[in-house]
Amino acid sequence: MEKFFWIPFEDVNDEEATITQLLYESGDYVEKNSIIYSYETTKTAVDVESGEIEGYIFYFIDEGQAAKIGANICVITSDKDYKIQTQEIQSLDSGKNQDYRLTAKAKLLIEEKKIDVKKLNLKGIIREKDINNFIKSKSTITKSDKEKIKYLDRGDTFIEFLLNDDNFRQLSSEEKIRKYRDNGHTIGENVTIMDGAVIIGNTITIEDNVQIGTNTYIEVPEIVIRKNVSIGSNCDIVASQINIGEFSRILNNVLVDIAGGRYFDSNFVCGRDCLIASDVFINACREVRLGDHVSLSHRSIVFTHSFWQSVLEGYSANFGPVKFEDNSQLGSGAQVLPNITVGEGSVIMSNSLVTSPVAKHVLVGGVPAKIIRKDIKKSLSIGQKLRIIQRVFDEFADYLHTDGYSIDKLGDLEIETTKDSVRRNILIVDSLKKLSIKKDIVIVFKKEKNINEKATEVFIVDDKSYLGNLSELGRMLLGFFRRRGILFYPGE
């Protein structure tokens, strides 16, 4: 049997009380209703009695000390050899010894990943993201071959030749491609490297249907350019590694550099069907990674390092990768700073300055950018999608008309075009089964069997694909729809 005695809350002025007198020594036997200690607050002086309990008393505090409200002062127990537990002593500083605290999520992650908290070397509140940063930082220190700084192989005679002989740049596209192939590089079919353009790298892989514009200069140790990529004229691309995904388009005067210093991840990686508009500047001294369908608008800027003020004078020199997740968009004139991830489907308004990570599906804007609107992606029903396609289709018909085609409207969903006495029909249908005769160009929602028997050229909305060899009219439709955000790729 034991009973603890503590300081009660006496009045609103006092967080602590002073122990003025202890009437016994620890270990003494105390009778019922004896005064055992006295304390004082700013308003009261109180003698505390043992009440209905007797036994051996053990004090946790000395005379003259201050005790926090609620702190244990003593215990009366039947155990003569009572051992005082440290948690029974609540000094005024209790609980402040540990200099970090883990949130519940951080605790779970630490247990899961079996991380020693002390190795984090962090103080204050530790959140899940701090642990993730730690894990990430550990993983980048492993030294695999992949993670070594890549330089141009200056000992290679072909590279030296490309760097120094300006005459190479004036060769015809076919001659350039032949020389690349002769020197072990992989160049696909139907590739064009325009006048003045040159590609310098240790390994160069260029797939089919790639176009490199006039006077474009690419100097990157590891180059991969997937099929159907086009790079405009007067671009200047310098990095450790580039990987441009299929159907991506880089327009004119785009600058990619490694100011800030070459590093093992000075890479520019771009997913499928991205758009890098003209006059975009990308600093890739750390990795700049674009997901699929990302667009960087005219004159936008991506930076992976910050200024050059002295860190010893207290300024920050910030280096870090920048990532754009799928379907995100950087508005024209906008700028993104190091260590930023732009979430999937988010839009950064023109002329904004992005200084902190951007969540998914939000519209941000301003200097510095703040969230303007959330959940900007809506889910559309088939009916809504049909109306959108119908609207773009109407615009396309008007466009054809201004381009010298004569147009006959055969209802809301079908037109017939005539140019140079060639008549062709284009229509939207929900199912190809409804077609009794074979049509020229059909836009349909779902892929169906025997599709080739029903139309020469088919655009499938759900698949984002097209089938058949596109005529000039088909290519016009492809481009017109693409400019309005409706994309089709060559299907299987």
Binding site: N13, G124, P357, K374
Partner: protein, 337 residues
């Protein structure tokens, strides 16, 4: 520095440097020094400017009108804010109207200090938060510092620079609290202030991310809010922002509107009853200006009942920390973790 010491120091400075400042109220002279010790030592130091009075709030408030018309700057202490009700006639029908009835020929720069708030088991007549009742009096300004403000600085400014009739609310549980200034701010919270003479404090544990919930409150509710922010951060990593204005009537519309604009979920916390409350007024203003359309907006406050003496029951009538926490968890569906 503690809340009570900040006020005591400010009163000392006001009395020392301004002979027209007079401080009076019930039981505030030494050695007692006031029920909450705010005026301790002042009657000894300034015997001509500080004095105790009989128990008659109506007379005390009436006196302040006369004093201020005569050129003094009276500071009146009402021991428990509940007793302001005894002087409401003087406040409502005289003090706040004189300036308008006499076409600005006279001014009544009176400051009435009043303690408010419960959670101490003081019972139905010594625990109330009467801010909404007082806020319904036209032209009465209400200042209500939290421990994230410097109450002494606010008091000095209000007495010397502001010629309105002012109620200065002092939340009882704040008196022994260390002010949350500079190194006393908890490590999980960052604080910014608006640049007004009555600054609004913005608390955040997520300055670089958007908050999942915005809490709007004032005065001593900061005690519960600080604990809530910490608990919700530790348990759910909840990003929280808090607005604590130091003047609650007229409330700083712009300070609040700016943050409301960037938040999708807002919770108002007050200790007075929710019905016909402070939050209702602000929500109405924000709604009239189209600022809360499509947002989740909630209120939490006391029940529409007298406050019980029993601490257990008092904790049910007043909005307890656990009640507010479970409300936030429900609003944000936090139990999914």
């Amino acid at each position: 520095m503690k809340f009570v010491n900040s006020l005591n120091k400010a009163l000392d400075k006001l009395l020392r440097e301004n002979s027209e400042v007079v401080l009076y109220g019930e039981d505030l002279s030494d050695p007692y020094g006031g029920a909450f010790k705010v005026t301790k030592g002042l009657s000894t130091e300034f015997p001509g400017q500080v004095f105790s009075t009989p128990i008659s709030e109506a007379a005390l408030i009436g006196m302040s009108a006369g004093m201020s018309i005569g050129g003094l700057k009276p500071i009146l202490e009402i021991m428990f804010g509940d007793f302001v009700a005894l002087g409401i006639d003087q406040l409502l029908n005289h003090l706040t109207k004189f300036r308008w009835m006499y076409n600005d020929l006279i001014k009544t720069p009176v400051l009435i200090r009043a303690t408010m708030g419960g959670r101490r088991g003081y019972g139905p007549t010594h625990s109330q938060s009467l801010e909404p009742l007082l806020a319904s009096i036209p032209q009465l300004k209400i200042i209500a510092p939290s421990d994230y403000h410097n109450p002494g600085e606010l008091l000095e400014y209000a007495v010397l620079e502001d010629d309105a009739v002012k109620i200065f609310i002092e939340y009882k549980l704040l008196y022994p609290r260390e002010l949350r200034l500079k190194d006393k701010i908890p490590d999980s919270i960052e604080v910014l202030y608006s640049s007004s003479n009555y600054p609004t404090a913005y608390l955040s544990n997520c300055f670089f991310e958007s908050p999942e919930i915005l809490l709007i409150s004032f005065g001593g509710n900061s005690i519960i809010i600080e604990e809530l922010m910490d608990e919700l951060l530790m348990e759910y990593e909840l990003n929280t922002e808090v607005i604590l204005p130091s003047v609650i009537k007229p409330f700083p519309y712009n300070d609040i509107a700016e943050k409301v604009n960037n938040s999708s979920c807002i919770l108002f916390i007050e200790e007075s009853p929710v019905t016909y409350g402070w939050a209702s007024e602000i929500i109405a203003c924000l709604a009239e200006n189209g600022l809360i359309a499509g947002k989740e907006v909630h209120r939490v406050g006391a029940m529409d009942l007298p406050i019980p003496s029993s601490m257990g029951l008092e904790n049910k009538v007043l909005p307890s920390k656990s009640l507010i926490k479970s409300k936030i968890k429900k609003i944000l569906n936090l139990e999914r973790l």
